[in-house]
Point group: C2
Chain length 409, copies 2
Amino acid sequence: MPEQSPFDLTEGDPFGPHTLPYGVFSTADAPGLRRLGVRYGRHVLDLGALPDALPDVVPAAHAALLAADTLNPLLAAGRPVWQEVHAAVRTALTDPAHRTTVAPLLRPLDDVTLHLPFDVADYVDFYSSEHHATNVGRIFRPDDAALPPNWKHLPIGYHGRAGTVVVSGTPVVRPHGQRKAPADAAPVFGPSTRLDIEAEVGFVVGTPSTLHAPVGLDAFRTHVFGVCLVNDWSARDIQAWEYVPLGPFLGKSFATSVSAWITPLDAFDAARTAPPARDVPPLPYLDDTAAEPGGLDLRIEVRLNGEVLSRPPFAAMYWTAAQQLAHLTVNGASLRTGDLYASGTVSGPEPDQLGCLLELTRGKGPYLQDGDEVTLTAWAPGPDGVRIGLGEVTGRVLPALEDPAGAPA
Amino acid sequence: MPEQSPFDLTEGDPFGPHTLPYGVFSTADAPGLRRLGVRYGRHVLDLGALPDALPDVVPAAHAALLAADTLNPLLAAGRPVWQEVHAAVRTALTDPAHRTTVAPLLRPLDDVTLHLPFDVADYVDFYSSEHHATNVGRIFRPDDAALPPNWKHLPIGYHGRAGTVVVSGTPVVRPHGQRKAPADAAPVFGPSTRLDIEAEVGFVVGTPSTLHAPVGLDAFRTHVFGVCLVNDWSARDIQAWEYVPLGPFLGKSFATSVSAWITPLDAFDAARTAPPARDVPPLPYLDDTAAEPGGLDLRIEVRLNGEVLSRPPFAAMYWTAAQQLAHLTVNGASLRTGDLYASGTVSGPEPDQLGCLLELTRGKGPYLQDGDEVTLTAWAPGPDGVRIGLGEVTGRVLPALEDPAGAPA
């Protein structure tokens, strides 16, 4: 069988010319050299080499951005540059006149190593699925109302650890920590026995904002570059013992996995959809009734060791990414290039639409075992019936270290 | 009166040869050029110019670190380099043979602009004063036990916003946000009416750690470069409404002020002191009974518009900085150069030792008014009766913006 041309995509490939996500890769012959790439089907376009190869297509002014070893300079360049680069990449990949020139710049995906695509500035995690928040509330706080009183008035969020955001494929070592069952007299220390996933969607900030200047709903597209998948690994036993009153800390900070590909926001134009009806009217800075539809019809799939566990629908999220950004900045907090904010666990109303094991097992487990591999994938409807893919986020659980510092002798 | 020599310090000056804190400054003739400096009395030593001026004193290998525009390269260089640079600076400033050479490198403090001294990686805020946690618990959660059940088992902490850490002197604009008094039917949006301070001590990480490898109590000095003062500005009304269940977010993220000077950890050797007796035995990874004394006898002073408001004693903190670091990493979370973690509000047992207005006014206010200026200073006992100063952290409250994005029309 002859080798397929990299330009001939398999029918239905979700990484076609309407998707074109950005990432960072290296190759075996130069493992220390990180380069920007764009995924096209089962290949990666070497973006750093494109300006020299196609000087008439790629504006020379962008050569330095594309020669960087992380996406941050491109993210910082702002929306007009994002659109120019996207147009150039699309022309390079789809105009038959360029095939001979571009073909040598396409590496098979299987031949490259993918890296964390951008340097994460601040990482914020929201909690914006009503189904998830209700389910978790019932399990963690059975004596209270399932939703806290603030839930429908603001998109609850908190800061997570940016330094432990890792790229898809990074193994996750089972964390040690304190846990205390309600019946125990005192906490015990040891490897988490309730290691869980959280299937989320992440939004990557490109254009920074100014301190003291809130970013309103209508400025969402000015600041947000693109979308990724996030698995916010969670040690439920550590989290349950530590989180009152200041929120999750070590139960989350050991690892947060993101997909290696960041898909530009504009790729999801056909997937825009109205969010669920709000039964509490949002305050004006969160009121999106007159804005463009803020929901996104992303269909997520969660697989555990290859078996489909769940299909969470992102369209069911109560708070949208634009509302989350407006809330995050309404107190004057500024955005930096590389800020990442995640949606919170995506869960739908049905039992096979839940985004974490805590909900899927109603708090009873089983949770993740050593050796388990969890993979999230997602796609969205694109124009003319095509699918827009998000890069997968996958990770395997490794056993806890036998002798961590400070463990009992 | 003849101008005083920069080498002749006023008696009792807490910025003498035993202190030597690091910062970043610029001068009016080159406002865009940031340089590393060391504070000596009322002057700043131009560190970037030192290797050329005293090649026999400053190892040439460190010239690039000292020519940087932020402390991060020096922080990353590790403890042996920190000690070599410190010894060189001390020789330059105290050996009379070098006075003629060094004098031109000393700028009056009043003639320079100070900048954020390092790029903050992750910012973590702890909650480690038993007096503060008890007082706050009584005010925020009057129906529960004052201390949450986990408090004496682990140093509670959470991640804050690194991107809004600002240097001393930066004005603080009163933030907008949602608040809801218990009697109100729904939240209202507007400028915070309960703007508060939190007097804290910050620890700056130099040497990074490896993912999955906890940093035990005995590795504290390997990783922590130095100490600063922190004012963790807090909007109590925003915080009270938002913080259940995921912790503080917008009530804190609008601004966190740090001193312009980072004092090396070794300067506090004479200030080491035993922490308070723990009435609950800590788990082994937090058990410091056999370690060097982990407390620090820092005496903080809080001034409001020039009047002393409080004198919080850092020696009264229940959890030490070494325990906080051990806890922060016990789940395998890694450290990066530039990580900042703060102690939590420092409050002592006496009414004039409380570190925030919430406690000082027993939750009744008044809180900060527009135009108020808050300044934190601190010193610690050094060798031979000298004082070791921490750089001040000061900030003035500016009125809320009149028309922030998203405010009601």
